[in-house]
């Protein structure tokens, strides 16, 4: 089966989500919170004046990473990257910032995940190994954002499906996932069902099922996963 290198897979995933955000923001402003890592890359591909990035550490209107030598050490995003301001940005305390998230004002969040199951449950905060003790804002984001986008490789490093029947790892949020984008496919959760809407041009449906442990429905209008 077709294998995509890690970097190309990431770019395909974030470009696809970026395109969706540009479509969503054609008519109205879109407020987005991007998780640490791959999700942050979505910002690089969004070409729209109507998309505004929020950082849960207290900023609306996050700009690109600061140029070397021009960093302000106190101006960071939630991933601790030294960032810049955009025109019209605002600062506020953490309760107001999470108020935006938890109050349903953030239109979309993009996060990675260890596992997503066919019920729309997501596990992304901890692998119980005794070495990690951290949740950050993950549970607030999945519970609060209007739409939760999962950006992740289709399989884990051992080649096992990350889309599963039932999450084995501790859950971050129940039934909160709206869209999953991997290098192979785009799924949407609709009325309790996981629906395959787009499939990568390089693979067949049977191949996709081989690497997907979650049960899913195939959309009547199955499309090609294009950037």
């Amino acid at each position: 089966m077709f294998q995509m290198d890690e970097e190309s897979a990431k770019i395909r995933i974030v470009k696809r989500i970026a395109r969706e955000f540009m479509e969503m923001s054609a008519e109205k402003n879109l407020f987005v919170n991007l998780g640490v890592g791959t999700p942050t890359m979505v910002a690089d591909y969004v070409k729209s004046d109507n998309v505004f990035l929020q950082a849960e550490n207290g900023m609306l209107g996050v700009g690109p990473a600061a140029e070397p030598g021009k960093e302000d050490p106190l101006l960071i995003n939630a991933g601790r990257v030294k960032v810049t301001e955009t025109s019209g940005c605002a600062y506020f305390d953490s309760a107001t910032s999470f108020g935006m998230i938890r109050g349903g004002h953030i239109d979309a969040t993009v996060i990675g995940a260890f596992e997503v199951d066919q019920e729309g449950n997501v596990a992304n905060w901890i692998i119980p190994n005794g070495k990690q003790l951290g949740v950050g804002g993950a549970m607030d984001l999945v519970a609060g954002a209007k739409k939760v986008y999962i950006a992740m490789p289709h399989t884990n490093k051992k080649g096992q499906p990350k889309l599963v029947e039932k999450c084995a790892l501790p859950i971050t949020g129940y039934g909160e996932v709206d869209v999953v984008v991997t290098e192979y496919a785009l799924f949407r959760f609709k009325e309790g069902k996981m629906v395959l809407e787009e499939i990568a041009p390089e693979i067949t449906l049977d191949e996709l099922k081989e690497v997907t442990a979650a049960e899913f429905v195939v959309s009547e209008n199955l499309g090609v996963l294009a950037e």
Partner: protein, 222 residues
């Protein structure tokens, strides 16, 4: 600096530290090396006190920032949300040396504010049904599950601000604001490390992020 502006609330860092005692619950502000009271924390880590409950977003790195308190054996309990940057936390927890209460960052922020504004507890959907909801009351509102998060209050808050005026009104710098205005409301004793003290009336009254009613002690950043 000659004859800098002073304030009735201004104390030396040693005077400020003398107000903190063993067993205290201490709120400490900051997120990712921004907005944390670095000098207060450094001084605290050298005090001969123990059994502290440290309530903070994270615990720095091993031996660094708040991490130094854990290394020095001063910590009894941690309440916060992200300790992955300091593996000593999980080690100490697994060894039964400290207690750790993980609270999702939004519930943590809102819980601190709640303590400051007289709210005893509130219902949030965050973490409902998850491992972090253990021991918390659950209730449905409009068909959705919520859990009861209690207020997070403290004896002392150590916070950091860009500037204070002589009364103790505080303003912050960009994302260094984070938990500071919340923690300023939620402790019996609030000690603020400030970069500069300016005359009262300097700040635009529309732009004061922490009114002086919430601030007890000022320490000038050295």
């Amino acid at each position: 600096m000659e004859n800098p502006i002073t304030s009735k609330k201004l104390k030396t860092i040693e005077e400020a530290m003398s107000l903190i005692k063993s067993g205290d619950r201490i709120l400490v502000s900051g997120f990712g090396n921004s907005g944390d009271p670095k000098q207060l924390v450094a001084a605290l880590s050298k005090q001969p006190i123990k059994d502290l409950t440290i309530i903070s977003n994270d615990l720095g790195s091993p031996g660094i920032g708040l991490g130094a308190l854990l290394t020095a054996g001063m910590v009894k309990k941690l309440i916060g949300n992200y300790y992955n940057w300091n593996p000593e936390v999980a080690e100490a927890f697994n060894a039964g040396k400290i207690d750790v209460e993980l609270v999702p960052q939004g519930s943590f922020a809102e819980g601190i504010r709640a303590a400051g504004v007289g709210v005893a507890a509130f219902y949030t959907p965050t973490a409902a049904g998850t491992e972090l909801s253990k021991g918390k009351d659950e209730r449905e509102f409009n068909g959705r599950k919520y859990i009861l998060q209690e207020a997070i209050k403290a004896d002392v808050a150590l916070i950091s601000a860009a500037k204070s005026d002589t009364l103790g009104n505080l303003v912050y710098h960009k994302t260094a604001r984070n938990f500071n205005p919340l923690m300023a409301m939620a402790a019996e004793l609030v000690i603020a490390e400030v970069g500069e003290i300016v005359p009262a009336g300097t700040f635009d009254p529309e732009c004061i992020a922490t009114p002086h009613i919430f601030v007890d002690v000022l320490v000038r950043r050295g």
